[in-house]
Symmetry: C2
Subunit: 359 residues, 2 copies
């Protein structure tokens, strides 16, 4: 079978995703151990700086230009009544992002990050030059009746993510945060997690934006039906993503793969971004090297996802908004980790005595 140019493009990107730079990591680790503090006493701040050295190949990495990419898309499955909010909220929130009034805007401003909003699949016309217009499809199909997307559409959405990251890097971005907007999107995220891991649906599903017990049971039944109708192949992540995923989720998978291929860190936000990250590592296991987990969300499937990928969250604040809000807060901590490595005095510089025993 002849491969499409999209498939070839994706394969090329995946091939660029490599091991971390051990030399840079060793140099960063050596410097951490000379700084005026007990060895490893800054815990994850030290680990983050060392991982960042490995990602960038720079033994003294710095975070400058920060961007949170918010992918917006709609979900046919909301017809089934799985969300507390109506679908019209997706475009309404897109305009809120553009006017700077949403949670992600406030937090991104606070940490000095830009916000790039991408219409990858909103089920309404978005008419604003500040939104990156890359609509692959005006919302997914209702996955309880057949595939949410075709395989080609899923690949196109991944390409949008990779392309967006490439552009942001050209603009100067040194770190990417993943953000999502899409009413109903905890439903496909839960479906992806259940399909890829085989964990029963009721173990991975949470209350999303806030549904009651009855609607939670209904949401579980809807996801089980979608899995039964579509029978996604757990060995084929693209099949899972297309059949029970979402356009913004695929877009974020593309962002993650794009960041990894370009050797810059990607801060994975909450549950939706986690589902995208799980697809990314299923396609390219080494992509995990380039990820940092921001927080562990209130959605039960999120911690499971982070454990599978092997990521430790920095924040535990019971957040479940999405939009990249956790990623924005985490970027500030990652920046702090870099500054610790570059700005702290060494024992020799400060004339401080070292430990009298090995720690």
């Amino acid at each position: 079978m002849k491969k499409s140019s999209s498939v070839r493009n994706l394969e090329l990107v995946i091939r660029e995703i490599r091991d971390l730079d051990e030399r840079a990591m060793n140099l960063a680790r050596e410097r951490q151990d000379q700084l005026t503090k007990p060895q490893s006493s800054l815990g994850m701040l030290e680990e983050i700086s060392i991982k960042l050295a490995g990602i960038t190949g720079n033994p003294c990495p710095m975070i400058d230009d920060k961007v949170v990419i918010v992918m917006a898309g709609d979900h046919g499955v909301v017809e089934e009544g799985v969300s507390a909010f109506p679908q019209e909220v997706t475009p309404q929130m897109v305009y809120n992002f553009i006017r700077g009034g949403a949670g992600i805007n406030v937090l991104a401003r606070h940490v000095g990050a830009r916000v790039t909003v991408v219409d990858i699949g909103v089920a309404a016309e978005i008419d604003d030059p500040h939104v990156k217009a890359c609509k692959v499809k005006a919302g997914t199909n209702n996955m309880t009746r057949g595939p949410a997307m075709s395989r080609e559409e899923a690949i196109s959405a991944i390409e949008v993510g990779m392309e967006t990251v490439k552009e942001e890097i050209q603009r100067g971005a040194t770190i990417i945060g993943t953000g999502d907007m899409g009413i109903g999107n905890t439903t496909p995220s839960s479906a992806i997690l259940a399909a890829l891991t085989g964990v029963p649906v009721e173990k991975v599903v949470g209350r999303g934006t806030g549904i009651d017990d009855a609607r939670l049971r209904h949401k579980i039944a809807v996801i089980e039906r979608a899995l039964l109708v579509n029978r996604p192949d757990p060995q084929d992540p693209m099949d899972v993503l297309a059949k029970v995923g979402g356009l913004e989720i695929a877009g974020l998978t593309g962002c993650i793969l794009g960041a990894a291929a370009n050797h810059i860190p990607v801060v994975v936000d909450g549950f939706i971004s986690g589902a995208a990250a799980l697809v990314a590592v299923s396609l390219a296991p080494k992509a995990a090297n380039y990820m940092m987990a921001s927080h562990v969300s209130a959605e039960p499937g999120h911690k499971m996802t982070l454990d599978i990928i092997g990521l430790k969250p920095m924040l535990n604040m019971n957040m479940r908004l999405g939009e990249g809000t956790g990623a924005a807060l985490a970027m500030n901590i990652i920046e702090a980790a870099c500054k610790v490595l570059s700005e702290m005095a060494t024992f020799a510089e400060a004339g401080v005595s070292e430990a009298t025993e090995e720690s």
Copy 2:
């Protein structure tokens, strides 16, 4: 018995520590529920903003001037070989703070906080105008042979903390972070926790700056001996603080009480600050209203302390440096929480539809 002026002063401060302002909290909560996000979806960020409203009496609180107070003191018990570092490191680190090369300096600069260093009990002469000179005593006595301090010395050290906070508020501080420096100070902190709670010593002791198994067993034995020799009265927190505490710990207790009496938030750092906070709530239970926990440290006694006080940490990063490093990072998150409350658009302002069911 006639009360000293110090005791009367402390009682006056404790009397100023009140309940949170319910009216301001209700107004903040109402506004949070009108912002363009599912209710409570920003989790602890929302709770922090509401607590801050209660602390300050301002329904839309802002954090401006931030200060981390680092109390430095030495410990006679280091004679027993409980630390991986020699005692000379305490003054060496004080000079490192002044020159801006320590972990707390880097992180405070990163979040825009000042650092105030107080010599409350360093066992060496500190000759630098940038250090606040308030030495109560040149290090505590070896608590395995008798009380670490007299009751009067402990009260004087608390007064130093209260006075320091008062001065910082006069300079404009709107939030205080607690920091500590004192080689050996996980030993008195563990002793305080064991004495106040009755929990066995081996359950509360950790490796501090990094000691091996043999020295850990020795540290436990040393603390058990100190408790046996001094028999501190668990019903009398001042007795515990004096007999098995430390000067910088008492100073931080004073900082916490001072912040609470002046209705400004105090960010409690790691294990040492946690011990100081435990003494503070034992003296004045309502002081807990004014505390925010920054992180949960790698020391096993720290989580226990936070649970007893009823504080939830924001960060889980396996840090154990002290100096106020966790508090500095947390201040940035608290500032973010305030901005969410004040800067996010409401549903009405943004023209976003609300949930169709109660969350």
